[in-house]
Amino acid sequence: MSVLVDDDTRVVVQGITGGEGKFHAGQMLEYGTNVVAGAVPGKGGQEVHGVPVYDTVDQAVEEEDADASVIFVPPAFAADAIFEALDTDLDLAVAITEGVPSQDMAKVNKRLTETDTRLIGPNCPGLITPGEAKLGILPGNIFAEGDVGLVSRSGTLTYQVVDSLTQRGIGQTTAVGIGGDPIIGTDFVDALELFENDPDTKAIVMCGEIGGEDEEEAAAYIDEHVETPVAGFIAGRTAPPGKRMGHAGAIVSGSGTGTAESKIDALNDAGVPVGDTPEEVADHIESFL
C-alpha cells in the first residue's frame, strides 16, 4: 500500500519553529504521521505540538531514531539543511522550500550521488501514502487509500488530479510531488521505478509540464521498463514559446524539445494516453482498473 513512507516512518521536521514548519508539522501529526522530532539551530530543548526540538538533525536521529526529514527552511538556508539531512544518512529527505538557488542545487545534486539518502524536491508539496503518513504540505483530506501511484512536477496540479480520482472512488497507493525546478532529487524515472516495483500499485498517473526533457526521458523509460499501465497529463499546451511560466523549468525553448506537443507525442509513442483535462486522466485510469 505504500512507496517510500508508511506509518512506521519516523519524521524529523527541519524548521519546525517557523510559521510554515509549525503549521504543517501540526497538519502532519493530525494526519497520523509519526513526527518524532524537530531540528532548528538554537531552539534545542523546546517543544512544538509536544514534539521535542533539537539543535541538529544529528541529535534528532540519535535521540529519536528519525529516518526521514521534511525541510521547511527559508531558501537562503535550504541547501545547508539538505546537506545536513544527507550527512546523517536518513533514508529520505523531503525539501518543501521554494526558490532555492540553482547553483546550490547543483552542489546538492553532486552530494546526492555520494549518499544513500533519497531526496524529494525542492519546491515540491512532498508525498503521501493515504491513511498512513504524509510528509509535506499536501491537503490530506482529498486523498484516499487505493491502487494508483501518482507522480507530478506540480503540487496544485497533483491535488486537482487526485481530487478527480478520489471523487470517483479511485484511491492512491502513494502520491509524490517531485517539484518543478530544473534541478531536483527524485525524478519521474525514479518514481516510476518505485511504482513499477510496488505490487500494490495497479496504475500510475504521471503529471508533467512544459520545459526540460524529463517527460521525454520518462516516456523512453516506460517503453522499456514499465508494465503497469500509465496515464499522463501535460500542463502548458497553450503556453507561448519563450515565456517563463512560473516554474523555473516551465519555459519552452522554441527548439522543438520541451514543448507540450513533444512530451505528449513521446508519451503516446510509449503507449501512455494523455488526458486533455484532469477528468480525462481519471477516465483513463478508470479504464485500467
Binding site: 482529498i142 486537482q160 497529463f233 512560473g246
Partner: protein, 384 residues
C-alpha cells in the same frame, strides 16, 4: 533577471574580461561627447533587452560626428520590438578578424554547470546549437570544485580555436565561469568574442542573466534591476506586486496558485473554446492582500472580459483567498467584470463561508468554473 549589455559589460570588465571602451548616453549631445572621448569609429547600441537589435536597426556604426548624430537621432526614442529606447551605449568599434563564442550555463538535464566554446561566434548561437551541435565544444563542471583551468583549455582545443589564441580564450572562459559562479549567473555569454588584427580577444557583447532565486545574496546586482526592463506596463505592474505573470492575447483573466495548476487552467480555457488573457500565479501561501493585488492586476488589463479564480489550497488557505476576493471586490460600486471562483483544498469550506456570493459566481469543479468564465467572456464580448 537579465542585465543590460552596459551593466553586464561592467560586471565582466570588473572581473578582468577584456571589453571595448564605452560610455552610456541618453541624448544626442551625450553620444557626441562620448564618441569624441573614445575616438571614431564608434558603435552606437540601443540598450533594450531584446535579441536581434542589429537587424532591427538598434545598432549603428559611425565614422564621424555627422554619422554619430544621425545614428543617435534614429536610435534614441525608437520603438524596438515594443521597447522604448532611452539609452545607448557608445562603444569603441573593434577592428576584428574573427568572432568566437564563449558561454556558461546550467545544464538542467545533467544538473551541472556547462562551459561552452565555439568558433562560430557572431551569429545566432541557438541556431548553431540546433543545426551543427558539434560546432560547440562543451565541458561539464563539477559544481563542488568549480572549473579547473585544464577544463577551459580542453574546451578551447576541442573547439579548434587557433593555437595562438587558445590560451587567451581559455583565460576568458575561466574568468567567465568564476564570475558566473560568484554572481549566481543562470547564463553568462560573450557573443561575439572578437579577435582583433593584433591577435587580442575582446568581448564585443555581453549577456548576463542572474538566478532570481539568488538575488538575496547579490545585493549589488539586485540594485541594477531595471523597472523598465519589460516594455509591457502590465508586466511591470506584476513585477511591483512580485507575481509570476505573463500577458497573453485572449480575454479570460486567470488567477490560480501553483504554476502547473495555472497552466492547466489556461489549457482548459482553451479546451472549452475561450482564450486566456494571462498567466497569473499567486504562488504558495498567498494572504488576502496578495489575492486582492492579483484581482487588481487582472482588472488592469482592458482586454479581460471575465475572470476565473482556480485555487486548490495546500499551503494556500481558502479563507485567506476568500477574504482577499471580498476585500478587492468590496471596493467597487459595480464589479468591472464577472468573476468566477472555484475553491478547493486547505480550508476551502471556511473560505466558502466567508466568500461574498453577491460579488462572485461560485463553481464547485474546475471544469464548471472554466466553462462559466468562458461563457461570461463571450457574453461580455457580445455586449461591446
Amino acid at each position: 533577471m537579465k542585465l543590460h549589455e552596459y551593466q553586464a559589460k561592467q560586471v565582466f570588465a570588473d572581473a578582468g574580461v577584456p571589453t571595448p571602451e564605452s560610455t552610456l548616453a541618453s541624448d544626442v549631445d551625450g553620444v557626441l561627447a562620448a564618441a569624441d572621448e573614445i575616438g571614431y569609429p564608434v558603435a552606437i547600441k540601443a540598450q533594450v533587452q531584446v535579441g536581434g537589435r542589429g537587424k532591427a536597426g538598434g545598432i549603428k556604426l559611425a565614422e564621424d560626428a555627422d554619422e554619430a548624430r544621425d545614428a543617435a537621432e534614429s536610435i534614441l526614442g525608437m520603438d524596438l520590438k515594443g521597447y522604448h529606447v532611452d539609452r545607448v551605449l557608445v562603444e569603441e568599434a573593434v577592428d576584428f578578424v574573427n568572432e568566437l563564442y564563449v558561454g556558461v550555463t546550467m545544464d538542467r538535464g545533467e544538473g551541472k554547470p556547462v562551459a561552452m566554446v565555439s568558433t562560430k561566434g557572431g551569429v545566432d548561437i541557438e541556431q548553431v546549437a540546433e543545426e551543427t551541435p558539434e560546432a560547440i565544444a562543451r565541458e561539464h563542471v563539477d559544481p563542488a570544485f568549480g572549473m579547473h583551468p585544464y577544463q577551459a583549455r580542453k574546451a578551447v582545443y576541442d573547439a579548434d580555436v587557433d593555437a595562438d589564441l587558445a590560451l587567451d580564450v581559455a583565460g576568458v572562459l575561466t574568468t567567465l565561469y568564476d564570475l558566473w559562479e560568484d554572481r549566481d549567473g543562470s547564463d553568462a555569454e560573450i557573443n561575439p568574442l572578437m579577435v582583433t588584427s593584433d591577435g587580442e580577444v575582446i568581448a564585443a557583447d555581453a549577456v548576463m542573466n542572474i538566478d532570481e532565486d539568488a538575488l538575496f545574496r547579490q545585493p549589488e546586482l539586485a540594485e541594477m534591476e531595471d523597472e523598465a526592463a519589460s516594455g509591457d506596463e502590465l508586466e511591470q505592474k506584476a513585477d511591483e506586486y512580485d507575481f509570476d505573470y505573463v500577458r497573453l492575447e485572449g480575454n479570460v483573466g486567470i488567477i490560480g496558485n501553483g504554476a502547473g495548476l495555472v497552466m492547466t487552467t489556461l489549457d482548459l480555457v482553451d479546451h472549452y473554446g475561450g482564450k486566456p488573457a494571462n498567466f497569473l500565479d499567486v504562488g504558495g501561501g498567498a494572504k488576502a492582500e496578495r489575492i486582492a493585488n492579483a484581482l487588481d492586476m487582472v482588472f488592469s488589463d482592458e482586454n479581460v472580459d471575465s475572470v476565473v479564480f482556480n485555487i486548490f489550497g495546500g499551503i494556500t488557505r481558502g479563507d485567506e483567498v476568500a477574504k482577499g476576493i471580498n476585500e478587492a471586490l468590496g471596493q467597487f460600486d459595480e464589479i468591472p467584470k464577472p468573476v468566477v471562483v472555484r475553491l478547493a483544498g486547505t480550508n476551502w469550506e471556511e473560505g466558502m463561508e466567508i466568500l461574498n456570493e453577491d460579488l462572485v459566481t461560485v463553481e464547485q469543479t474546475l471544469e464548471d468554473a472554466v466553462q462559466r468564465a468562458v461563457a461570461y467572456a463571450e457574453d461580455e464580448e457580445g455586449d461591446q
